[in-house]
């Protein structure tokens, strides 16, 4: 997949394009991590699901940012513990991140701040539903099992708490917060 063709509206610089892969050594942790994902299958699953849920009504408009780039950015965000802004910034400046996102060539003017805006990443995330998320994990697990790296013969199941906040569980607090929010 030639991503550069789709990225033309951002990567619009002139001069000799740099080959991103040449700048990232094989031993780079991000490169090794990115090489474990079955990108083609993951992207196909997302495109299929999006086409079902959000059908394209008009052929007009600018070409979308490739799903491959957005998915890789979202995963990298969790791997390196970065915020949306930070990971989008690294995508502009870090060759390892560009390589992980499947960008093959780099040719952009200095004045260009971002290849992907954080808002775009947020919008992409908002389109992913539970069915698709389960499918993506299943694809990754199936690819790992196919290569004989892991086996599900013996499984361990557990839960862990994932905190959203803490408050006094009184109805006064709940009601107060509920009434305070719309007035803001």
């Amino acid at each position: 997949m030639r991503l550069l063709r789709y990225l033309q509206h951002w990567v619009s610089g002139t001069g000799l394009p740099l080959h991103v892969a040449d700048f990232v050594p094989d031993t780079d942790p991000i490169r090794q991590w990115a090489d474990t994902f079955p990108w083609t299958a993951l992207v196909a699953a997302i495109e299929h699901r999006f086409a079902q849920r959000f059908p394209k009504r008009s052929p007009r408009g600018r070409a979308p940012i490739p799903v491959r780039v957005l998915l890789a950015l979202e995963l990298l965000k969790h791997e390196v513990g970065a915020s949306d802004e930070a990971i989008c910034h690294r995508f502009r400046t870090d060759f390892a991140v560009m390589d992980a996102c499947g960008l093959q060539e780099y040719q952009a003017p200095r004045s260009q701040g971002h290849f992907v805006l954080p808002e775009t990443l947020c919008e992409f995330r908002g389109r992913i539903d539970e069915v698709l998320m389960d499918e993506l994990i299943a694809i990754q697990a199936a690819a790992a099992m196919e290569t004989g790296l892991v086996s599900p013969a013996h499984l361990v199941i557990d839960t862990f708490p994932c905190e959203q906040g803490s408050q006094r569980v009184t109805d006064a607090t709940t009601l107060y917060k509920a009434q305070k929010k719309p007035s803001n």
């Binding site: 998320m133 599900p152 013996h154 499984l155 959203q164 109805d171």
Partner: protein
């Protein structure tokens, strides 16, 4: 509620006044409540209950006013269809949250115990306290995701973010269904299967064990008491385990031995969870249940990527290496090593 009559026309001034009056009274009550509690360092339960009673009294006309506002919204011609629909949805959601709060509030004011899934956020009914919260101390609230992982390497085959804080045993079968859906995608032979399931005392449930045995799964990894599971059972014990599960024809003694060795171990599971927590899974940052599902899912995928890197580089614990040998999972870089030698 006060905004609806303003946008729908000037005929509903009475409703506007009533809504604004209610809003002012509520502000007064809440201001007094905050003032008395400030700087004290602890919560006065009597004061909380008294404030709740006041709020309940004040909130009595909200249902009737809500009906009026809804009728007004239906008749509003000044609003476009899409705006009216959006307002209607937001209004219905707010009224439904109010109904939930009103339902559980009288229980608290009368000193009664609240139901299991108590409401803590009027805008997201799917989150629940993840600890047993009391009215005199703060309690964490959020989600309780479940994971199904390989004890040897930590690869997570499935995860699930349930609504609220359900019973742990309810997570097991949906997680196994997800693992099965991943297995169905594998075309390589021989077909892979799940042989056993391990878990903590929280999933020690007779009905669940029966359901797992019906699927042909060993449950020896789920402890029945606080005593640790014997990792090296004798042949007689293995026979008894198979007979108890009714799986003599489906599972081999060797599989039982491995299942015992893979039994629930807190440090092993903690290491998998710690890896997820290090990637930010400990706190929900995205909005709503869907946001939590996406966040946890992406974290699991990132963790799995890192796990596969470790497996490829043979950076595994002695225990994991031994399990992989016993399961017949050989490293795939044998040819590569030979090439280097030659």
């Amino acid at each position: 509620m006060a905004r609806i009559p303003q946008r729908c026309g000037s005929q509903a001034t009475k409703l506007t006044h009533q809504a604004q009056h209610l809003h002012q009274e509520r502000t007064k009550v809440m201001r007094g409540f905050g003032r008395q509690c400030r700087g004290q360092g602890h919560v006065f339960v009597k004061l909380v209950r008294h404030t709740e009673q006041q709020l309940l009294e004040l909130g009595k006309p909200i249902t009737a006013l809500g009906h009026q506002a809804q009728q007004l919204l239906a008749q509003a011609t000044a609003l476009s269809d899409s705006t009216r629909k959006r307002w209607d949805e937001a209004f219905n959601a707010a009224m439904s949250s109010h109904a939930h709060i009103r339902k559980q509030s009288p229980q608290l004011t009368q000193g009664k115990k609240l139901c299991h899934a108590k409401l803590v956020n009027a805008y997201d009914l799917t989150i629940a306290p993840i600890l047993k919260g009391k009215s005199n101390c703060p309690a964490q609230f959020g989600r309780k995701p479940g994971i199904a992982s390989d004890p040897a390497t930590g690869f997570i085959f499935a995860n699930r973010v349930p609504e609220g804080n359900p019973y742990d045993a309810n997570d097991v079968l949906p997680l196994l269904d997800k693992v099965q859906s991943a297995l169905d995608r594998v075309s390589a032979l021989p077909r892979l299967r799940v042989h056993s399931v391990a878990g903590d005392l929280g999933i020690n449930d007779a009905a669940l064990r029966q359901a797992l045995h019906a699927r042909g799964l060993l449950t020896i990894g789920i402890p029945k008491t606080v005593e640790p599971i014997n990792p090296t059972p004798t042949p007689e014990e293995i026979h008894a385990i198979l007979a108890e599960a009714g799986l003599q024809r489906q599972r081999t003694p060797y599989q039982v031995q491995l299942a015992c060795a893979c039994g629930y171990s807190r440090p092993v599971v903690e290491s998998h969870i710690a890896s997820l927590l290090a990637r930010g899974a400990g706190q929900v940052r995205y909005k709503g249940l869907q946001g939590a599902v996406v966040q946890q899912g992406m974290t699991v995928m990132a963790h799995n990527g890192a796990t596969l890197v470790r497996i490829r580089q043979q950076r595994l614990s002695k225990r994991a290496q031994k399990f992989r040998r016993l399961l017949g999972l050989r490293p795939r870089n044998i040819n590569q090593i030979n090439n280097q030698k030659n």
